[in-house]
Structure formats: structure tokens, C-alpha cells
Subunit: 208 residues, 4 copies
């Protein structure tokens, strides 16, 4: 509120240029890959001076990060499901599906690059990882309230167990991030998190 109240003087920044840059960045990164991507190429394709890019972002990783988030949106909401456990599984499957798509390469690249760029790392964490973790946390808390999950579990740890393997496979490629894999992880983790009294019902869902 207070930040922009003092009306900025001078020519305002062009939203059109902003959008053109993000679009060009995304096209380029899909065309040539993250490493081969050059700021000059983005500027040329966007019909923009390099200075206009550097005025807004510190480096190409930040541009691509913004372009990526502008494309995939803030949080890929989930349709409600009767069983909260189903919602978790659906969430994981949606995530893994994104990883298998062309955006998987982008996430790989951004996470890889983030290992060398603390600011990018923070942006990746706060703008990509955390929104999804918060979603997951809500669903898990709902599962606890519904009695499907034990009430003594560590939710953060639970989220890690569910989602870390997906990132692990994306990055290390010990195997595909297939739907089958995700279901397997989900099932095994749930075996440890599920309430004793309901375990028979829950278990039968996927393998009747």
C-alpha cells in the first residue's frame, strides 16, 4: 500500500515490454534450453533493449522464473474430493504430471540454477515450493480432522516424504516420475500415516 502510493515520476514502465520479455524468454528457453538461452536473444525476440531487461531482473534466471510462474499460475488449485486422502494423491499426480511435461525441464533448470544463486533459490522456494506445500498442509490437516490420518504426525515431514521423491527422481533420474511411482510412494507413506481404525477402508481403495 505505502510502497507505490507516492506516484512514480517519469515515464512509467511498459507493461507491454514486460509481457513481451516473459513471452520471449519462455519461447527461447523451450527452443534452446536454459543454458543456451541468452539475454541478447530474449531482448531481440521481444523487440526490447537489453537495458530494459536488466532494469527489471538481475539475470536470466530471474526472468525465466517470472516467465515460468506467469505461465503456470500461482497454485494449480485442486477440485475438491470427498476423501481428503484422495485429494493428496490427486495433488501428487498433478504435480508429477507437470514434471513429465515440458515444464519439467524448466523446473529442473530453475532448481539446478538455484543451487548457485541464493536469490533465485529463495524465489523458487517462496513462489513455487511454498504455495504448494501450504496447499498440501491444508489437505493433510483436513485428513487429520476427518480422522483419516493420525493426529500425532509431523506434517512438514509428511509433506517431505510425499513430495521429495518426485523432485529426487526429476533431478537424479533413478527412474521415471510415473503415475505408478507416485502412487507407490503415496501408498507406502500412507501406510505409516494412516489411522489404525480406518486403515482397512483406505487401503482397499486402490487395490480392490
Amino acid at each position: 500500500m505505502s510502497v507505490q502510493t507516492a506516484k512514480r515520476r517519469g515515464r512509467p514502465r511498459s507493461d507491454q515490454a514486460h509481457q513481451a520479455i516473459l513471452t520471449a524468454a519462455l519461447e527461447e528457453v523451450f527452443a534452446v534450453g536454459f543454458r543456451a538461452l541468452g539475454i541478447d536473444a530474449i531482448a531481440a525476440k521481444a523487440g526490447v533493449g537489453k537495458a530494459t531487461i536488466y532494469r527489471r531482473w538481475p539475470n536470466k534466471a530471474a526472468v525465466v522464473m517470472d516467465a515460468f510462474l506467469a505461465e503456470v499460475g500461482p497454485g494449480t488449485g485442486f477440485p475438491p474430493a470427498p476423501r481428503s486422502l484422495d485429494r493428496i494423491r490427486m495433488q501428487m499426480e498433478a504435480q508429477s504430471k507437470a514434471f513429465r511435461s515440458k515444464y519439467g525441464m524448466l523446473i529442473k533448470s530453475l532448481l539446478g540454477e538455484a543451487q548457485f544463486d541464493p536469490e533465485l533459490a529463495e524465489a523458487f522456494r517462496e513462489r513455487w515450493i511454498m504455495p504448494r506445500r501450504r496447499l498440501a498442509r491444508e489437505v493433510i490437516e483436513e485428513g487429520i480432522r476427518q480422522g483419516d490420518l493420525r493426529d500425532d504426525i509431523d506434517i512438514e515431514d509428511a509433506i517431505d516424504m510425499l513430495y521429495a521423491p518426485i523432485y529426487y527422481r526429476l533431478q537424479i533420474a533413478t527412474g521415471p516420475v510415473s503415475e505408478k511411482y507416485v502412487d507407490g510412494i503415496f501408498g507406502q507413506v500412507m501406510a505409516g500415516l494412516r489411522s489404525r481404525e480406518k486403515s482397512s477402508t483406505a487401503r482397499s481403495k486402490r487395490q480392490p
Copy 2:
């Protein structure tokens, strides 16, 4: 057979240069970080021509990979423990301890870089990840034989659930890779993998 048997003609490669390069690479990478590291700097510090490096490694990532592995050794063996579950936990704790040390940054960097370099990715997988997975697999199989773990679990998935969170936190830094964290993950995962029977009928599991 023929490669090394037929004594190479000409001047043999200098082991001294080899070692100097690895040492210099490690010192440099700790001094300035992986990204800022340059082949020229390694060559200069090692008192070696650049060509001597390129004759042996394709790029700096490969050099650092070798230097790293030469330093940390092949597999950090584990002292046997009476309970196989204890061995798994000890193994995880040892791994996380390495991640917290100065080598954590190296692993972060190598895994990050591997996202852009398929050859490095394969080297990282085959020379760092897989040896440790094989170790883990042995211990888990032992746990199954001892009846501590159910015999219907997917061992690969189990390894992922145990170790992926450690890499996840190393890279995404949603929290520290502390001993407490590792124990928490271990406990929750084991809650789902452990045999229901109190390990008394362990021997009978393989012949139902």
C-alpha cells in the same frame, strides 16, 4: 585389455600433475565456489597447462566430481550393528552429517550442475548415488530377512522415501538437514515399513 596392456608409447602421463589438479580443484572450489571456479585458475594453482586438464577431463564439472570422490572415498562403509534398522538409521545420519559439512556445498553444486550436463548427471548417479543406494538396499534386504521389515515393500521406493527428503532439504532449504529431522523421517517411514508382528516370527516371512 588392449588399452592398458600394450604399454603406451611416448611420455607417460604424470600422476603428480593428476594429483595436483585434483587438489587445486578442491581448494579452489572451496575458496570461490563452483560457479566462480575457472579451469584457468585450477591450471594456474596446480602449475599445469590447461591442455593437461582437458586431456583428462571434458570440463570442470568432471574434474570437481573426481576431486570430490577422491576426497570422500568410495562408500563410507558402516560398522555392523545388531539391528538392521539401526544400521539404516546410522547410514542416514552419516549421510546427513556429510551434507552439513563443507562437502554439502559440493554435492549441492554437482547435483545442480548435473541438471545441465547429462554426462555429469550420469557420473553423479553412478558414482555417488548408486553405490549408496546399493548399500542401503543390502541393509534393507537384511532387515526383511530378519523380519523387521515387511516382505512386500518396494525397496527402491523405500530408499527414495528415506533419502530423497535429505536431498530435498539440501537443495530447497525448507529447513535444516539436522539429525533430528533425519530421525523424524526415519521414524515415520519405518512406521509404514515395519512388520506388524513384533519381529518374533521374522524367520518365517519368506515362506508363506
Copy 3:
């Protein structure tokens, strides 16, 4: 006629801004030199928008040219002297003195820049060089009338011989533009221009 008579519409140009720009330009050029001088810096120091500068001058050279001329005035008139030859010498010495002052650098810079900028070259010639040449021409013509100088000399060539060496030394620095130097040039050139007859028959020269 129409340009200024028909009262310009809209807000009139600010004389204050005009002066601020010239002052700022001169200060800057003395502070950082002509090459390092930037339009942005002038605008900032003058508290003026860049457009206000470009609305009045085509480039920085023109600004500095104007600032320079506004400072040194149109023509540095000379006090009359009994002997016209003395007036020429005095004029040369005054010129060389200006060259040794801080304005020398400005003249050097403007003349240097003029080699790349035809408009600046013309401005420099018409507004700096020519007024001084005309002054010199008058004095020489007076010398001829007085019989001190031969009446068959080429006045333009004479001016060149007298003044060119000063510019030559300013630019090429084969030696200082000292008073002694100027006197030497004056003396040698005069040796060739002076009337053979000891100025007694001066009046008779125009009717041979």
C-alpha cells in the same frame, strides 16, 4: 520574420533552464573532460530533463560550443596601438594566452571533436575561427595601408602562417605555446611580409 514575431504558442522556453544547462556543461567539462562528459550528467547537474537539452541542441558538442562561446565572449577586442604590427603581435599573444589557460583544453576538444562532426566543424569555424580571422585581416590591411607591410601579400595566407602554428602546437604538442614561441613565429613571418622600404614611402604603394 514569422518565427519570432508570431508569438509562439504554449509555454515559452525557460531562459533559466538555458543558462543552467550552459553553466552545468562548462563545470562538467572542466571537471571530467570532454569525452567523459555525458548529456545525462549535464541534465542532472542543471536540474533539467534531457529532452530540454535535445530540444535546443543536437548533441553535446553543440552545447559545449555554446557554453564556451558564452563564456569567452564574441571576440576579445584589442586595445588600439600606434603601430599595426604591434597590434598583430598583441593579438597573437592574447590568443596564445587563452590557449595556455583552461580554455585551451576546451578548444583542443572542440576542434578534435569537429573532425568527426561537420556541423560542429562549421560552428567552430564560423563562430570561433572566422571572427578572429576577420579581426586579424583588418589589422593586416591597416598595416598595409600604413606601409608597414608589402601590398602584394596574400592576406589569408599570412593569417594562416601567423596563427596556424599556434593551433599546431596546441594539438600536436611539439612544444609549448609560449609567448617566446609566438614572438619567434611573428618575427620570422614578418621578416617576409614587411616592406623593404623602411615604411617611409608607405603611402606610395597603392599607385605604382
Copy 4:
């Protein structure tokens, strides 16, 4: 002699690249002019990396200076003439002819640029100006020995009077650097430098 005795180690600099750069620089400067000339263009045309240029010259002016001198050679020697005065005139005419050629623009540019670049200024003075001044000095001294010129003249001043006007016209363009102009200057200056006893002979040479 001593400088290069300690045989340089490493790969020697390529004379071929050196030559290609100078040739390209000259072609480019004639094609687009000094100001519009870019290091990138030279590098591209020469088939050379930019670093190779910057390794040898500090900036484009230095490159063009070298290219220019390599083209016009060290000193444009003069054919001997019976009369030393004739040799001076011939020398001046040769110089002015060069100024009228395509090299005139180069000299203009280099001298203009030299006003902003002390190193270039020194190079221009020592490698272009001074060799020609030394030639002129020799001829003038010969003229004195032969008795054509007075023996009390200041030779440096005499050279300035003869040559400065040519540079003056080149730069300020108060008129063309024509042969007629040069002859005029020569004549008038000589009128002041010539020995009295021989003046009748010398004068009749050009206007019999």
C-alpha cells in the same frame, strides 16, 4: 635487442592475425569512417576474436594508427633535387597531396582522436609527425649549408610555419589544401628565410 632475447614461452602471437587485423581495420575505416568503426566489425572481418585485438592494442585508435602507418610506410622518402629549396617545396607538395587523398580523412581522424587520448597523441607525434619533421630539418640544414637560407633562423619555427598551415586547413577547412595554396605558403615563408644575396635567383624560379 634485450627485450625479446628471453625467448617468449607459450604459443607465439600470430603474424597472420596481426596482418589480418590491420588490413581489416583499414578497409573498415575507409568504408564506414573512423567513428562508426567498431572493434567487433574489425574482428569479424579479420576472422579473429576480439580478445586477440585487445591483447595487442588498447583501443580502436591504436589499431587504426598502426594500420595507417603500416600502409603509408615510415617516411615517404624524397628524390634528391639539385636545389634544397626545391626539395622542401616538393616535400610540402607531397604531404599536401597525401592530405587530399583518402588518407587525409585518416589523418584528420587520428589527429582529432588524439586530442582525447594522450597515448594516441604521443604515437601520432612520434611516429607520424616527428619522422617528417626530421626529414624537413635535414633539408633545411642543407639549405643553410648551401647558403640558400640564412644561418640565423630557428629551424623548428621554420618547420612549423611551413607545415602548420597544411594541418590547419585540413582540420579547420578555411580553404582547400591545394598545390597552389602550399606553393603560396612556401613562397611567403621563404621570402623571410632566404638569404639576401641569393634572393633574386630563388625568386625567379617559380615566376619567370
